[in-house]
């Protein structure tokens, strides 16, 4: 074995984290996770920020590890590109565009833009709205004809995909329940004729649930997500009726009835966190343990700067502490193969396990599109009805040149700010709508929560490392 050890080496891009008493590497941009043994960890530790040759590392670690072990470690770390020749630039990842035409897997149908609640932070009605939902050109309710056309559009654009997802969104979806019912019936029939499957889900504020509607949702296996912010004093801060009356007392019994009767699909709660509603653990306990939701997902409110409900830096810090504590609960449950409903951590762990490295933050404008009440097709439900973000219409199909232009402009390789961030394989710049609300453009990354995302990703990596070491069987469900 001839040793070429004079070349100076330095570290490349990765994020190192500790879990289960050992060191792991999260590789960037491949999103691979490697566990290191002691010699490999010592090599990286020794190298640190320095430029050293393999010979120097061997000499430094003499007495602790054999030169063979050190050189093997150096070699393996080079092979996975954790270290490389100092001064030699790493080639940037090539800009790989998705294949076209890209099949549509999920269509979000805004069956109405009307709502019986008047939540202050709402991105569809509040101060940050994009589309004039009160007096704009869009009809307030989608009619049956447009809904049927949308189904045809979805089946056509789904290409070879066998099972498509149709999600109803609003406004409050149940305000247009008759059209919703007929659309499910129609979609199921048409998909059947084409040999495809179709799955349904909807988001609701639960105020309009009635026994017959619950019955129908259960019988038709419609996945339900309830927008709810927590116990009474939290829910009633923003989720109020037009007159200002809180909605908790109306919603809670209806949700309990829904959970009692509807067992064919897991039912989730979706919580919007705001400046004064940040007690994630308490909200989780209430919604999961007391009310009985299968899963609870949390998202900080989407807002422009300076709104009353906007979470400030100290709020983000507090929220991270809460998320971390709940992630610990999740880990404890997962180690014992018990279910835990904190969906934020579960979703991220699944992505880590698969090694997802994203060129786009989400499927908007790619495998997912939103349809406005008049049949205009946009990036996603949050942009439905916005002419600026239109990608076509259900009558005329997707305008593929517009879609291509969108994909070119929004590719991760265009987001210079992200190019030195280790969390980019998972974050990829974050939500387009959030960026649009904050910065007035969908193309920029969400720089206001970079620190938060990195800290949260680190937490999820540590949970993943613990599970991979102590209960790898749990991760098998993601295979």
């Amino acid at each position: 074995m001839t040793v070429r050890t004079e070349v100076k080496l330095s570290t490349r891009e990765f994020h190192a984290f500790d879990a289960a008493g050992r060191k792991f590497l999260y590789m960037v941009p491949s999103a691979a996770v490697f566990g290191l043994d002691e010699p490999a960890a010592a090599v990286l530790d020794r190298l640190g920020e320095r430029k050293m040759s393999a010979a120097e590392i061997v000499a430094d670690l003499d007495g602790r590890f054999s030169s063979e072990d050190v050189l093997h470690s150096v070699n393996e770390l080079m092979q996975v590109r954790a270290i490389g020749e100092a001064g030699v630039l790493q080639e940037p990842a090539p800009k790989q565009m998705p294949p076209t035409p890209f099949p549509l897997t999920t269509m979000v149908l805004n069956v109405t833009n009307q709502c019986n609640l008047s939540c202050g932070y709402c991105y569809e009605y509040g101060e940050d709205k994009i589309v004039d939902t009160e007096n704009g050109r869009q009809p307030k309710f989608m009619n049956e004809e447009t809904a049927r056309q949308s189904v045809e559009f979805m089946l056509e654009e789904s290409g070879e995909i066998e099972t498509v997802h149709l999600t109803f969104f609003g406004g409050e979806t149940l305000m247009n329940f008759p059209v919703l019912q007929k659309t499910v019936e129609y979609a199921r029939r048409r998909a059947g004729e084409l040999g495809k499957g179709v799955e349904f889900s909807l988001t609701t504020n639960a105020t309009l649930l009635r026994p017959d509607i619950i019955e129908w949702l259960a019988d038709n296996e419609i996945g339900v997500t309830v927008s709810i912010d927590g116990p009474k004093e939290m829910q009633d801060q923003f989720r109020v009726f037009k007159g200002g009356r809180g909605s908790y007392d109306i919603v809670a019994p209806k949700v309990r009835e829904l959970l009692r009767r509807h067992r064919s699909r897991p039912i989730g709660a979706r919580v919007t966190l705001t400046r004064n509603v940040l007690d994630v653990q308490r909200i989780y306990r209430h919604l999961h343990d007391e009310i009985g939701f299968w899963e609870v997902g949390f998202a900080p409110v989407t807002t422009a700067w300076g709104r009353d409900w906007a979470i400030d830096d100290s709020g983000f810090h507090a929220m991270l502490g809460q998320f971390n504590a709940l992630a610990e609960d999740f880990l404890e449950a997962a180690l014992q193969n018990r279910h835990h409903g904190f969906s934020n951590v579960k979703d991220t762990i699944e992505e880590i396990h698969k090694g997802v490295s994203k060129a786009y933050p989400c499927g908007a404008g790619l495998g997912l599109m939103g349809v406005a009440t008049d049949g205009d097709v946009s990036l996603c439900h949050r942009f439905a009805g916005s002419p600026e973000h239109k990608l076509g219409s259900v009558a005329d199909g997707v305008d593929h040149s517009l879609q291509q232009e969108f994909l070119e402009k929004h590719h991760l390789s265009e987001k210079t700010d992200c190019h030195t961030c280790w969390a980019r394989p998972l974050c990829s710049g974050g939500c387009y709508h959030e960026a649009y609300t904050r910065y007035g453009t969908t193309t920029g990354p969400n720089l206001h929560y970079c620190e938060w995302i990195r800290s949260w990703t680190d937490t999820c990596l540590r949970v993943y490392g613990e599970l991979a070491s102590h209960n790898p069987g749990y991760l098998a469900v993601f295979n």
Binding site: M27, V33, F34, G35, D37, L71, Q79, L89, G355, T416
Partner: protein, 116 residues
């Protein structure tokens, strides 16, 4: 691999790839005699070998065949190069001129013209 353990699915794929195609992935591993000839310096065909500002023309006397765009020199000029090119005044007038250009080799297209 002996010292690195693949944990997630992507890492396993990389390990499989390395087992079958280690040569193609990393060129010459340091610490061992490489199984192939060591890589020589990369000399792009048709390009100027002299990277001194003012000399970057290809063998035809033009710039189209250069391995690096002329804009890269422009970018260099404000970083301590002697060549008196007209680069934007980054101290006073255009402090953000290079804000979108973290790595010139990759992002040089983002260096835009500035009109006074």
């Amino acid at each position: 691999m002996r010292h690195l353990q693949p944990i997630n699915q992507k890492a396993s794929r990389i390990e499989r790839y390395l087992e079958h195609d280690v040569v193609a992935l990393s060129g010459q591993p340091v610490g061992y005699q490489a199984p192939q000839q060591p890589e020589g310096p990369h000399i792009p065909l048709g390009c100027s070998l002299v990277f001194s500002p003012g000399w970057e023309v290809d063998r035809t006397g033009g710039t189209a065949g250069l391995c690096q765009p002329v804009e890269r020199d422009l970018f260099d000029c404000h970083l301590g190069c002697f060549w008196p090119a007209h680069v934007p005044d980054q101290l006073n007038k255009a402090p953000d001129w290079t804000a979108k250009c973290a790595a010139a080799q990759k992002d040089w297209r983002k260096l835009d013209l500035i009109f006074p």
